[in-house]
Symmetry: C2
Subunit: 221 residues, 2 copies
């Protein structure tokens, strides 16, 4: 009890020292705020907006913060045997414009990231492949969203049937040689935040597995 109290005092002093310190480039550890209460502000179907009252455990600062509770997302780096990458183009209701992206979507309840990736690829492009693997797991927007985004690489993709689109979906598919994607990014043709994250992971993966990609020269179809 007393020990906890002392620890709190010491933490408080350490904190004050840090805040008043002349050292800018410290690599100290910011405090983890605690949520003391929360309330649903808006239920928006694919996400819920909450207002949370949070407290800084060391110096007792308090505040109300808004955040979005979102299901996890998945996106798919789908490569053909010729090392082309599958792209999707669709209207986006946030930006009110067409957006060039890679296939992806929201994980269904009890669905694994790999299962969701295979399903989304099949639904949005009519393609399927093999050896799905999670390249990276990130947080799309840590400041206001709680969800994770899984980037799944699927190889040897080939057409297996029709697209299976939701009533409001309209998706144009295309494919380009992987080595051309970087210029498309430089040109600003691909400006979708999380799709670009996936392409960074693809770039690092290619650097780590050059043999996989050197073998094939792109054969545009």
């Amino acid at each position: 009890m007393e020990k906890t109290f002392l620890k709190k005092i010491i933490a408080q002093l350490t904190y004050i020292e840090r805040r008043t310190s002349q050292r800018i480039m410290h690599d100290s550890t910011p405090a983890i705020w605690q949520t003391t209460r929360r309330q649903l502000t808006a239920d928006c179907r694919i996400f819920q907006v909450y207002t949370e009252h949070c407290t800084q455990p060391i110096d007792g600062r308090e505040g109300d913060f808004f955040f979005l509770e979102c299901p996890d997302w998945v996106q798919v780096l789908a490569l053909t045997p010729q090392q082309e990458i599958l792209l999707v183009r669709q209207f986006r209701f946030g930006t009110k414009r067409l957006s060039l992206e890679i296939p992806g979507g929201i994980l269904d309840p009890d669905e694994t990231p790999i299962e969701a990736a295979i399903r989304e690829l099949r639904e949005e492009t009519g393609y399927a492949g093999s050896d799905p693997q999670i390249l990276m797991t990130i947080y799309p927007n840590p400041a206001i969203m709680n969800n994770r985004l899984f980037t799944v690489l699927i190889s040897r993709c080939h057409p297996v049937g029709e697209q299976k689109l939701d009533p409001n979906e309209e998706i144009a598919c295309s494919k380009i040689p992987v080595q051309q994607i970087w210029q498309r990014i430089r040109n600003g043709d691909i400006d979708h935040g999380v799709a670009l994250d996936a392409l960074l992971f693809l770039k690092l993966y290619i650097e780590d597995h050059p043999e996989t990609f050197e073998i094939h020269t792109a054969e545009p179809k």
Copy 2:
């Protein structure tokens, strides 16, 4: 008048043809939905949630969609003369955890992306640099957000004073040699979506300007 009507019919037929087509990998153009009404669902200070009723202009499909009206954001790739990159670590209320990122924030009204980048760098790290330039402009989340994110590169950064943090901000700064950042990403140490976008643009920039980066070997301080 009659011409418009005919054009609408032809568009409708083209649309039906496309929806029923056996060709999967077409690169056709999805329709741009029109917003017929909107209402404010929640005002969350740093963003507003709207419910919009939208209509597909060709086949008349309708639906209600939620989206976040957000101010534009900026993030800063701040490099020292030794080609180290400045990183910030802070608690994030969306994910309820510490997040390793690059400096950035929300553009103030009437502030240019460059002005915001210089201000955020100064406030969050106490550093300033020279030759600020916008590397890329992207959309963090086209599906549900309308805002843009500007990534600004600032060179020759050096300490000029204290951090100037908001009341609820607590930011730990650090710097690492640019050539070490890619391994930190592979390790999963950096998992913040838009920060990773900026690092992809930095990677492409380094590929395009090798001379700038070959000269300097990192000298950790």
